[in-house]
């Protein structure tokens, strides 16, 4: 890990996102630390995906600032970057709530597409590649090696040449994460990676996320409804409700916060405290 390990990698400052009359995100500020897994949780429609879309440039925030800070202390203001540059320059990768793999391409091809920018440069913007220059060939070989590494990590090496759309659901989820990792991100944003997974697949996912955090220079921002996954692997949790941050802290703190429980139960705080007391 380079730079100060406790420094922030992402700083979201007074972020608001309005759609017509709906305020999906209201004056949200939070930070994510380098090397951490930061979770963003909240009930349905809380605005989590909207925050992701703002960070990754799919939405332009109504107000606010999103700062991405690299290990070499280069800074990018994400709200000013055009979408594909956020992945290309600021090194922020994401997955989608409903899987968006290239279904008609093989698992391997999906991982190759993710390495587009590096390969494009190596192929001399196609011209050197067309004549098969040795530089491009070796770049392609190392791209395949990286793809092979990730396929191995997600247990899909044997099915590398199968269409991504043909893979089981859980494999598709992990393949999408591997694809994002192949773009060598500094920050990986995962939108509900455990959605629809069974217990065994959920365990494999937690394993994968831990591997990413421990062995790669990638911090993770995670949206998740599955509390067992969130509580297990997050270093820090931010809770949203109706676009507003209602709580923030370690998993232990969040677990015991009546405001959070109230938001999830859809009741007021007093009832929540009563429920907690009853439950304990």
């Amino acid at each position: 890990m380079t730079g100060n390990p406790t420094a922030n990698i992402l700083e979201v400052d007074h972020l608001s996102m309005r759609f017509g009359g709906i305020v999906a995100v209201k004056d949200l500020s939070f930070t994510a630390k380098r090397g951490d897994i930061t979770a963003l949780i909240g009930p349905n429609g809380a605005g989590k995906t909207t925050v992701f879309n703002c960070i990754t440039g799919f939405y332009k925030p109504t107000t606010g600032m999103i700062r991405m800070i690299h290990g070499d202390s280069r800074e990018f203001l994400l709200e000013r970057l055009f979408d594909f540059r956020i992945s290309k320059l600021a090194k922020v990768a994401r997955t989608f709530q409903n899987i968006r793999l290239f279904a008609g391409m093989t698992a391997l091809e999906n991982l190759m597409v993710a390495q587009h920018n590096g390969l494009m440069r190596a192929s001399g913007y196609t011209f050197l590649g067309l004549i098969g220059s040795p530089g491009f060939r070796s770049a392609e070989r190392s791209a395949i090696d990286r793809a092979r590494y990730w396929l191995d990590r997600i247990g899909l090496l044997a099915r590398a040449d199968e269409a991504a759309g043909n893979l089981p659901y859980g494999d598709q989820r992990r393949l999408e994460i591997a694809r994002a990792m192949c773009s060598r991100p500094a920050l990986l944003c995962l939108d509900e990676p455990a959605a629809g997974l069974n217990a065994r697949e959920g365990e494999a996912l937690s394993e994968l996320l831990r591997l990413i955090r421990n062995e790669h220079d990638t911090s993770i921002l995670l949206i998740e409804h599955d509390m067992s996954v969130v509580m297990q692997i997050s270093d820090r949790i931010i809770v949203l409700d109706y676009g507003v941050k209602i709580s923030e802290g370690t998993p232990q703190m969040i677990r015991d916060d009546p405001k959070v429980i109230a938001a999830y139960l859809g009741t007021d705080e007093k009832t929540a405290i009563a429920v907690m007391a009853g439950g304990a």
Binding site: T56, G57, F58, D83, F84, R85, I86, S87, K88, A93, R94, F96, R100, L101, F102, A103, G104, M105, T106, L108, E109, M112, V113, A114, Q115, H116, N117, L119, M120, S123, T126, G129, L130, I144, R148, L157, A160, D161, E162, A163, G165, N166, R179, A180, S183
Partner: protein, 474 residues
């Protein structure tokens, strides 16, 4: 009336559920067949009531005369009704059409055939001028087919790989043809500096017998330039909207050519376009001609053979470049864009340049083909660049199987060759042709060769079935 109804809903008959269900589905299917037929007939009525029902003509003194033909109208609507019932019934019998997957053995046989087919086709193509040396008509047809193979392969980059529905491809064909025709007559303009105002003058470099070879790349580059120009305004458009704008673009180019009389000669076209030379040596009967040089008697077939090999080389170049590009990051980005544009953006792929490059490269090959067309004909006019050409090339791509090089070649052979084959049928040619197209699309909705071959693989290359592959909506 109400009593049995309520009785039915009270307690579902459990004694004979299977039978009940069967009759119910059959009833429903009969009802839906009738309903479909009625809807089709109504549509036909609306559509044809003006086209067939009322006939208008200009009378002898210029006034509008009209008469009704309700009998014919009724016949047509009735035919649609009956035809719809027949088609629907056949569909019921044979199950859902279009999802016909061939049995494994047949598929394997096809794949072996496919592996032999490509070299066989290639060798045959190389030998065509030898085999049919004395049949000018067949040589001409071969040149025509290869022109469309090349156009199909060029458009395949845009439509098949990048998934951008382009209905105006003929525009680039026209740009290539006119670029070559006009520049060959004027010479290649190049600016130079002078002492006096406006300090720049233009001279024309006369290319003489090298005109075709020098201007071929120029035509391609100019067509690519126009491809980018078309690409910019349509970057944000998808599907139908993209199709409409590209269609309009094709028409605009044609209309500009038609109306810019000073430059293009308008409807009169451009004639006297230089014929290709064997790298500087003209194919003429004279002393310095190619025939005299190699010491054989002159024959006009020489030029035909030469043209054949030029277009074969150009088509193979298109094919080679496309196959190469598919394995390069740019080609993979095209296919990824066809599959999911949003995911591409999230992976840092610049959609703008990716789309523009697809348009540009597709257009470039269209431009090459256009230059070839001009030099082959010696005369071009806007009539050669109508929407019908675009539609034909697109039909070749769709029929062949979007993205498949072999499929497109087969479709071009079948369509252009088949079109000639049915020449004896006169006005029924179009009818037969349309019928065959419809049947083919029912049988193989994703084209002749519909599976996709992966561009890179770790183990063994296995084809991806068409049901997985998207057609693109942008």
């Amino acid at each position: 009336m109400a009593v049995p109804k309520s009785k039915k809903s009270d307690g579902p008959d459990v004694a004979a559920p299977a039978l009940n269900q069967q009759t119910a589905t059959r009833d429903r299917s009969v009802a839906s067949i009738i309903k479909n037929a009625v809807v089709s007939a109504l549509l036909a009525l609306v559509l044809f009531s003006l086209m067939i029902g009322i006939r208008t003509e200009t009378g002898p003194s210029g006034q509008l005369t009209y008469w009704t033909r309700f009998g014919e109208l009724a016949a047509v609507v009735g035919a649609v009704f009956v035809g719809s019932i027949i088609v629907e019934t056949i569909k019921r019998w044979t199950g859902p059409l279009g999802s016909v997957e061939l049995p494994d053995t047949v598929r394997r046989a096809f794949s072996v055939l496919g592996r032999v087919l490509i070299p066989a086709l290639l060798i045959f193509a190389l030998l065509v001028p030898v085999i049919f040396y004395n049949q000018r008509y067949l040589l001409d047809l071969g040149i025509l087919v290869l022109t469309y193979v090349m156009l199909g392969w060029g458009l395949n980059i845009v439509v098949g790989l990048a998934g951008l529905l382009d209905l105006g491809y003929v525009a680039f064909y026209a740009v290539g043809a006119y670029s070559y025709a006009l520049l060959a007559q004027s010479g290649l303009p190049f600016p130079y500096f002078i002492e006096t105002y406006p300090y720049v003058a233009i001279d024309f470099l006369q290319l003489g017998s090298w005109a075709f070879w020098a201007l071929l790349p120029v035509s391609g580059v100019l067509a690519a330039f126009w491809g980018v120009l078309l690409g910019f305004p349509v970057l944000r458009l998808r599907g139908d909207y993209l199709a409409i704008v590209t269609l309009a673009f094709g028409e605009i180019i044609r209309l500009v050519i038609l109306n810019w009389q000073d430059l293009t000669g308008g409807p009169n076209g451009v004639s006297g376009i230089p014929r290709p030379t064997v790298f500087g040596i003209p194919l003429t009967p004279g002393e310095d001609g190619f025939a005299a040089l190699i010491g054989v008697p002159f024959s006009p077939t020489h030029r035909l053979v030469f043209l054949f090999y030029i277009i074969l080389a150009l088509a193979l170049l298109t094919n080679w470049v496309t196959i190469r590009l598919r394995r390069l990051p740019i080609g993979r980005a095209w296919e990824a864009m066809r599959e999911d544009e949003v995911a591409c953006r999230a992976l840092g792929i610049n959609i703008t340049t990716t789309k523009l490059s697809a348009f540009a490269i597709g257009a470039m090959f269209g431009g090459f083909a256009g230059a070839f067309f001009a030099t082959r004909q010696g005369f071009i006019s806007p009539e050669s660049f109508t929407f019908q050409e675009s539609a034909l090339v697109l039909a070749i791509v769709v029929l062949g199987g979007m993205g498949s090089q072999l499929g497109v070649a087969l479709a071009a052979i079948a369509m252009i060759g088949g079109f000639e084959l049915f020449r004896g049928l006169d006005q029924f040619r179009m009818l037969v042709f349309g019928g065959v197209m419809v049947l083919l699309m029912i049988w193989r909705p994703r084209g002749l060769v519909s599976h996709r071959a992966p561009s890179v693989f770790l183990g063994r290359q296995t084809a991806i079935p068409s049901s997985m592959v998207k057609e693109g909506d942008g």
